[in-house]
Symmetry: C2
Subunit: 378 residues, 2 copies
Amino acid sequence: MDQILQSFSVNFNYKVVFTEQIFSNENAVLSGLLISSSSRSKLLFVIDKGVLDHHPSLERQIRQKWNGIKNIELIQDFIITDGGEAVKNSTVLFDQIIQSIDTHTIDRHSYIVAIGGGAVLDVVGYAAAVAHRGIRHIRIPSTVLAQNDSGVGVKNGINYKGKKNFLGTFAPPFAVINDSHFLTTLSDRHWRSGIAEAIKVSLIKDAEFFNWLELNATALNNRDLDAMKQLIRRCAELHLQHIAGGDPFEKGSSRPLDFGHWSAHKLEQLSGFDILHGEAVAIGMALDTMYSTLSGKLPEQDCKRILSLLRTLGFSVTHPLLSNASAKVLEGLNEFREHLGGELTIMLLNTIGKGEEVHEMKEELILQSASKLAAHGK
Amino acid sequence: MDQILQSFSVNFNYKVVFTEQIFSNENAVLSGLLISSSSRSKLLFVIDKGVLDHHPSLERQIRQKWNGIKNIELIQDFIITDGGEAVKNSTVLFDQIIQSIDTHTIDRHSYIVAIGGGAVLDVVGYAAAVAHRGIRHIRIPSTVLAQNDSGVGVKNGINYKGKKNFLGTFAPPFAVINDSHFLTTLSDRHWRSGIAEAIKVSLIKDAEFFNWLELNATALNNRDLDAMKQLIRRCAELHLQHIAGGDPFEKGSSRPLDFGHWSAHKLEQLSGFDILHGEAVAIGMALDTMYSTLSGKLPEQDCKRILSLLRTLGFSVTHPLLSNASAKVLEGLNEFREHLGGELTIMLLNTIGKGEEVHEMKEELILQSASKLAAHGK
C-alpha cells in the first residue's frame, strides 16, 4: 500500500488585553491592534442590546472614534442584537451577520468586532469562522463570565435541534479585549454568575486561588471592582494556560477545563434558560462536589468549604429540577458523552485544587448527592 | 496596558492512501485506519449518486464489509446525494447530514465517510467540520480532480448567496483514500478535466512534471490507468507539500497553489456550471499564460508549449463567454480579491515551472489575451 503522511503544525497567537473604557478618546488599544495588522480593512460591529441599554453613548463613541480613520472603513450599519442564550437557539443572528458580510463585502483581512455577553460572542465567532473560511474577529466580552472564561477561549457555536453548541468550530479570535468598565453596569445576578467559573478553575487547578476567593468573597459581594478585576485576570490566565498546554481543539480524549458542567448544561436547558449559566454551574459543582465526597474521593472538610463559599457568594447549591425532573437531568450525562465523543469523561475532585477524571458516574449516588444538597436547603 | 499573549501550535496529521477496490473483501485499508484510532465508533456513509450509478454493487459491498465488525456500528441509512457543483448551491445536503448526525447521535470519535466528486466532498467536509465542532471525516474521492487536488487538501465549503465557497472552513480530513478503480468509469470529459490541476501544479512548481505530462499526453488521452495513477500521485504530493510547507489555513497573505483560477471560477458560474471546473481552469490557465507572455514575463516559446499541451489533451483554450460577457468575467478579479481578503494576488508565469505573484492585472491586456486565444480558435 502506497501512502503519504501529511503532517503540519499551525501556529495561533492572540492577545488578551485588560483595559478600561475601550472606546474613550484616550484609549488606543483597539486601534493599536488593528493598525499593526493590516493595510486597509473594514470593521463590522455586532453589539449586544443589553450592553447598549446600559451604555447608551457607546454607538456614538464608536462612530466618533472610527469615522475618518485612515486605513479603516467603519461599516455604518451596526448589527444590534438581543443577548442571552436565546440568541444561540436560532440562526437569525448568524444569518444577519452572513448577510452583512455579503452586503458590505467584508473580506478575510477585515474585522468583525463583537461586544456582548458569551452567547452573542459565540454566535458572532461562529459566523466569522465560517464566512470566507474565517474572518478575523475581535471579542469585547461585557460580562464576568465571558471575560474570564468563554470569551478568552477558542470555541464558538450555536444551539441546533435542541442541542447546545451542536454547530460550531474551534477558531481562535484575532484578539480579546476585556474592558472592566462594562462590569460596573451588570446586574447583581450577572456579576455573581460569572464568579462560578473562577471557583471551578480554582477547584481543579489552583488551591491558592480558592483561598483568595474565600478571602475576597465579601469584597466580591460588595461589588469591589478591583477584586473582580483580579479574579478575572487570574481565571482568564488559568483558562488560557489550559488551552495552550493541552489540546486546544480537543482532538484527543483530553478534556476542556470542566467541572460540574454536565448537569449544568442540562439544568439551563430544562429551565428554559431561566437559570443563568454560572448559576447552573454553581449547582452542578455542588452536585459533583457532594458526589466526590460520597464516593470517597473528596474529604468532607473540603466539601463543606466549597459549599460554604458557594453559599457565601449567594449561589444556590440545589434546584427543584434535581428532584422533580431527576431522570431528565440524568440524560445530561448521555448528551455530554455524545457531545464529547466516545467515552464519558467527568471531572471529580480529590481535594481543593486537584481534579480526577472518571469515566462513569453512578446514577444512584448522583440522586443521593442531590437529595443531600436539597436537605441542606438552598 | 496589561495583556496576555496566548500562543500555541496545533498539530495536524492525516494519511493519503493510494489503493484499489477499497471495498473489496481483501482490501483492509479502511478498517486499518479506523481500528487503529478508536474503540467504538459509528460510521456514516455519504455517497455520490454518480458513483453508485457506475458501481451499483457498492452499497452491498459496504454493508457486507462493515456489518458485524467489532467496535464499529455502521449507520444503515446511507445518505445518497446528487453530485456536481449544484449540490454546493443549496443547503439541502448539508442539512441532511446534520440531521443524520443528530438522529444517529454521531459523535466526535465517529466517522463520516464521503465517496464522490469534489463538490460532494466539500459539502460533507463542511458539515463534518461544524457538527459538534468537528467530526472525523474520511474522503474517498471518485474523480481525478478530487484525487489529485481538492480531495487531499484541507478546505471545504458550500456556495451561498451566489458566491463560491462563501461558507466553509479549513479542516484537515481524518484520512483520504484514493481508489483508482473509481477512475475507470469516469466519462472522458471528467477524466480529462482532472488533468487540468496537474498541469497547473507543473506550471508553477515542477518543470519536470510538465515534461512528463507532454510525454504522457497520448497515454492519458488513451485512458491509460497507470499513467493516470502516476499523474495523481505526483500532483497530490505537490499539493500536500505546498499545504504543509506554506500557510495551511491561509491566515497570512500567502496564497494557495493557484494559477488561472480567478477567471475559471467566474466562467464556471457564468456558464451555470455547464463548464466543468477543470475545463474552466484550462481556459483560465490559457488566459493567464497568454497574459504572462503579452506582459513580457513568459517567453513566447513556453506559451506555445503550454497551449499546445492543453490542446493535445483535448482542452478548449477559449470560450465564447470571454468575448460575449467579458465585463462579467472581469468581475471575477474583484470577487477573487474579496474572497482572499485584502490585496489582489494573482499568479503569473515566468517560465514553465516557475510562477510569480502580481498584485494587479490590466483589464485591457486581459481582453487582448482573450482575443488572441479566440483568434487561434478552440
